[in-house]
Amino acid sequence: MLTLQKLLTIRNGPGAAILPPDVTRIHMEFAMRMNDGHMGPRKFWRDNLPRLKFWNPAVPMIVNRVKDQSGPATMSIYIRDADADADADANTDVPLSTPTPNSSTTGHSTAPPPAKGERVEVISMKDMHSDTILASLISKTKAVPVLPTPQEQIQMEELENLRQQADVDRARVWKRVEAAKKEAAMMAAARDEAASLKAAM
């Protein structure tokens, strides 16, 4: 049941969206810790990026985390333009493809320069809430959010019912445990009192 829940939540929820095919790669760069406005990017990476990656398995999503807390937090979205050929003739020194680095925790995977026919949309994520980051990503890429199928809807409802029932059960058990604890405490106090009385006699 738990695995099912985990898989349901990675398929559905905020971030579950299909990117159009012209989005070639996404690069994120932010600091290791949350201080100085890096909480939003961190949360986006933890909560929303897995869903985006699930629905777009072919799109490289690179996270480069740096030690410097005061640095910027940027997201670069690489989009291949439809009219790439026209631009390509204009500047020939731009390479056809630039290597995409691996994700890194040492800050070495900086954003690659755009390849021929690619343009880069940059979102400055500093001090942004993860929801805002997601909204601007979706508006810039025109990604289509994925809605749960009727079957998944039923499964989610079942899980939600289970959760609610768990709340009810938890309250009931808590009440019983509290009563037992209270009685035990009363008995202990009385026993102490009796013992002191006996000692005084």
Partner: protein, 307 residues
């Protein structure tokens, strides 16, 4: 009507009984008094010969001792093909460095709790360990460079690598040079930097080579696995591996496990129960032995992109 008379008699005794001596009137309720102060009324019982015999003896049910590890009914189990499981795991591990995050496999066996266990070493086709970080000097963007990268080299190239070494940015602890790049290495003049660290490639240390795969695998060595509580676990791949690489590793490992199972004597039969693929911080996926993705929304090539 023996029971009625007995009952009446006990009732009569209750009503007639006078306290042995008048009780001290106290403000403390009766039930709160220490047990010594309350007069004990004892009735004859069958076992009256001292000790705590009025405590009923609790019968502790002895648990059934199973000789084999528990194995579950797998008919209703969701099982996944390798590519489907990889899609989920890559999503769960998004944004983590692909060389330090591993795919892990747990092979559950139908086996007795006692007796011999599986224990062996295996050299996987694509090595997993990352504490040996190998850099390869070979022509930039050549098929050799691609091969080295797929084999798990942390840095590949010629001039870019020399430049990194000159700047002191050495992220590897083993350095291999392909014969094709020997001239470039000599020209680069990095011997003074690499020599004291023992990294300078030379034919004597077998780090000047034409066989990248063999040399790299020799450097990395073999992985050890053993059965614990009826399960054999092993890190089977790095997150950056392609489905084909992971499949090759998995096949090699399963082949080794099967031959080891067959070598154990007939009195201790071991059978395969379940194969579960997980990752460093992802959930476990029971594999169904298939390779290709089940839906049309996923292609194998999708899982080969950079993580």
């Amino acid at each position: 009507m023996a029971s009625t008379t007995q009952c009446l008699a006990s009732l009569a005794r209750l009503s007639l009984r006078a306290p042995a001596r008048p009780m001290a009137i106290s403000t403390i309720p009766n039930f709160l008094l220490p047990s010594v102060a309350t007069p004990l009324v004892r009735y004859a019982s069958k076992k009256s010969s001292g000790g705590n015999n009025n405590m009923r003896k609790r019968v502790v049910k002895k648990k059934k001792a199973y000789k084999t590890f528990r194995s579950y009914d797998m008919t209703n189990m969701d099982q996944y093909s390798l590519c489907d499981a990889m899609r989920y795991l890559r999503a769960f591990e998004v944004g983590s460095p692909p060389t330090s995050v591993k795919y892990e496999v747990a092979v559950k066996l139908k086996t007795q709790k006692n007796g011999p266990v599986l224990r062996n070493r295996i050299r996987l086709p694509f090595p997993v360990k990352t504490d040996t970080r190998i850099a390869v000097i070979c022509p930039e963007d050549s098929p050799l460079a691609l091969e080295a990268q797929q084999l798990g080299a942390v840095a590949v190239g010629e001039e870019s690598l020399f430049e990194a070494i000159r700047q002191g940015n050495i992220q590897f602890n083993k350095l291999i040079c392909h014969k094709e790049s020997e001239a470039a290495l000599k020209k680069a003049n990095v011997g003074k930097l690499l020599g004291p660290k023992g990294l300078m490639p030379s034919a004597k240390t077998k780090t000047l080579t034409t066989d990248l795969k063999g040399t790299m695998q020799e450097m990395i060595g073999a992985d050890e696995f053993r059965e614990r509580n009826g399960v054999v676990r092993l890190a089977i791949g790095q997150l950056g591996f392609t489905p084909q690489m992971l499949s090759d590793n998995l096949k090699a490992f399963m082949g080794q496990v099967k031959t080891d199972m067959n070598q154990i004597d007939d009195s201790h039969v071991k059978l395969l129960d379940e194969v579960v693929l997980s990752s460093t911080s992802g959930p476990g996926f029971s594999l169904n032995g298939k390779f290709n993705p089940s839906g049309e929304s996923l292609e194998i090539g999708d899982l080969e992109s950079v993580m």
